[in-house]
Amino acid sequence: MDYAPARFHRSQRQLAERGEPFAFSPENQATFDAAVTHYPPERRKSAILDALYLVQGQQGYVSRASMRFVAQQLGCTPAEVEDVVTYYVMFFQRPVGTYTLAVCRTLSCALNGAEQVTEAFSDTLGIGVGQTDPSGTFTLLEFECLGACDRAPVVMVNNDHWQERLTPDRVPEFVEDLRVRGLAALSGCHHKVE
């Protein structure tokens, strides 16, 4: 069912077509349909972040075509979706590497050497902050406080996974480990005591 407004309105920004048209996979559609039920029926738009996370999980980033798709699903304009996508830092608007490395740069991590961790990543991968390495494996980012200041410096990988207490000298080894073992190379959250 198409929830988009029937009449064209000037706020429906004509997002330039880029890439393939987008649609949820059946599983993602089911997850989205379940998420929408958490909100009153006339407030489908509340599920916008859920929808965008699903989009990003499916194709790695949020494309223009997917924003239009999400607008249809929510019953709002593509402009409103673009408004949200451009505000929140966890949505990527262009393709990123297999692993996004988000180094926390705020005070407690910085006091424990986060600046040097970023430098070490930059040297090891040969890229600057915001760039992706030529092999398309790593994207280096700087994030603001990740909320684990007792385990500084912290790096968040792919928005969902954490590496704690990473020291600059361990960065080359860490990058290699990540390349070989994937997400299994990460320390995760140390609150885990099991």
Partner: protein, 436 residues
């Protein structure tokens, strides 16, 4: 230490996050049972008021009053929104609580719903806490299966649903009205107040927005009684409190203490003191938005009122410890880079002012500043503070104003020497990255 932690007592025990563990060791939804089977909603609010519970998110507003203000004579649905956005730099207490003791929060949400007459509670959790969200999701599912959430709880006809809502990286979403905007699927930008959320909050319905730690205290109050709660900590600052100590200390971490504890005890006794071979230079007592305190100012009660008396704020109780290698101009610049990145852009003084502050600080830190820039920083700050919809404006000037007040000589030295004179070994080696 005679005080026995209650919120975090079991967090280091294996499987402390499971319902079985919670029922055999902790409150185990008995407080919820007591509330819905023996107390009227008004009586629940009275108990929370009697206990003097103050909001743990930063402002320290009495929780009972907040609930009492929620409009009752309206046909609209009411909502509890739990603020689990925890994004104040230096804060990581809710992280621990939600990951290791999630049922305490869920029980608190359900009791809150009962008290204000809501049927739905949303827990707005920051996007970066994916693993915490998974832990909460598991706990919510367990609670539904055991009948502590859902329809007709304890056979009393009380219905309560708890949903998780994942944010996507926005500091401003921690402000209560911005959180509601974000929940409604918009940019996290604050609303004009009044109307306050208690009258017109989520979907224009009466809403109470409470911090994770605040809601986690509610089941304890109902289970042990308001007198027990009043017996902990100094007058008007009652109950157990979680403190986050980070920065240049031996053992950073979350510590639970009554608010009679002093800042010095937290730093020295709990967190093991400043790292070896270094001495204390300054302390940020309540997250990056609060004024710095000097080493001779830390023999004060780490309570809402105690820290306020010293000219700062307890805020989210995020204590960041700085040793003598910390350049205070760099510190202000680091925090202003944060605020510049996170300013939501709604109010002009904050949006434009923060970049001015950051540019000036970058100039001074890089050795290209002039003496008049220091006063210009204060002048710009004066034009931001109190001139914005939400406290973000006041927050972003706090590091600037307080470091200039206490460490003006360092700013002057940067200008005179034309460089930063404290080359700490943990700073960036290349100026490009250091400059930002």
């Amino acid at each position: 230490m005679a005080f026995q932690p209650v919120l975090t007592r079991f967090v280091r025990e294996p499987r402390s996050f499971t319902l079985d563990f919670y029922r055999s060791h902790d409150i185990g939804y008995e407080a919820l049972r007591k509330a819905v089977t023996t107390l009227q909603p008004k009586e629940v609010i009275e108990q929370v008021k009697a206990a003097g519970l103050r909001g743990r998110g930063g402002a320290g507003f009495p929780t009972g009053l907040k609930w009492q203000f929620v409009l009752t004579d309206t046909p609209k649905p009411k909502y509890i929104c739990c603020n689990a956005d925890e994004s104040e730099p230096g804060t990581f207490k809710d992280h621990l609580l939600m990951e290791r003791n999630p049922h305490l929060l869920i029980e608190g949400c359900a009791i809150g719903c009962y008290a204000i007459g809501a049927k739905v509670a949303y827990i707005y959790i920051r996007g970066e806490f994916f693993h915490v969200q998974k832990a909460l999701e598991r706990a919510v599912e367990e609670a539904y299966r055991a009948g502590f959430l859902g329809k007709n709880i304890f056979g009393t006809g009380f219905d309560c649903d708890v949903y998780l809502h994942r944010g996507a990286g926005a500091y401003e979403a921690g402000e209560e009205t911005a959180l509601l905007e974000s929940l409604e699927g918009k940019r996290a930008q604050p609303r004009i107040k009044p109307p306050f959320p208690a009258v017109s909050g989520l979907y224009n319905c009466p809403t109470a927005v409470n911090n994770v730690e605040t809601l986690a205290n509610v089941p304890l109050i109902l289970a042990h009684g308001p007198e027990w709660f009043l017996g902990i900590g100094p007058e008007k600052n009652n109950g157990p409190k979680l403190y986050c100590v980070s920065g240049h200390v031996q053992r950073p971490g979350v510590f639970e203490a009554p608010m009679s504890v002093t800042l010095r005890e937290l730093i020295v006794d709990y967190a093991g003191g400043v790292r070896d071979g270094h001495r204390l230079k300054a302390v940020i007592p309540g997250g990056s938005s609060t004024a710095v305190l000097l080493p001779d100012q830390i023999d004060i009660q780490a309570s809402f009122d105690g820290v306020a008396k010293a000219g700062s704020m307890l805020g989210s109780a995020a204590i960041m410890v700085l040793d003598e290698t910390t350049c205070m101009v760099w510190l202000a610049k680091n925090l202003l880079a944060f605020y510049s990145h996170e300013s939501c852009g709604k109010c002009t003084p904050c949006r434009e002012g923060v970049d001015w502050l950051l540019n000036l600080l970058t100039r001074i830190e890089g050795g290209e500043g002039q003496m008049k820039d220091i006063d210009l920083l204060l002048d710009v700050s004066r034009n931001i503070g109190g001139k914005t919809l939400c406290p973000f404006g006041d927050a972003e000037i706090a590091p600037v104003v307080s470091t200039i007040r206490h460490f003006r000589s360092e700013y002057e030295e940067h200008v005179r020497e034309g460089r930063c004179t404290c080359g700490a070994d943990w700073r960036a080696r290349r100026p490009v990255l250091a400059a930002h």
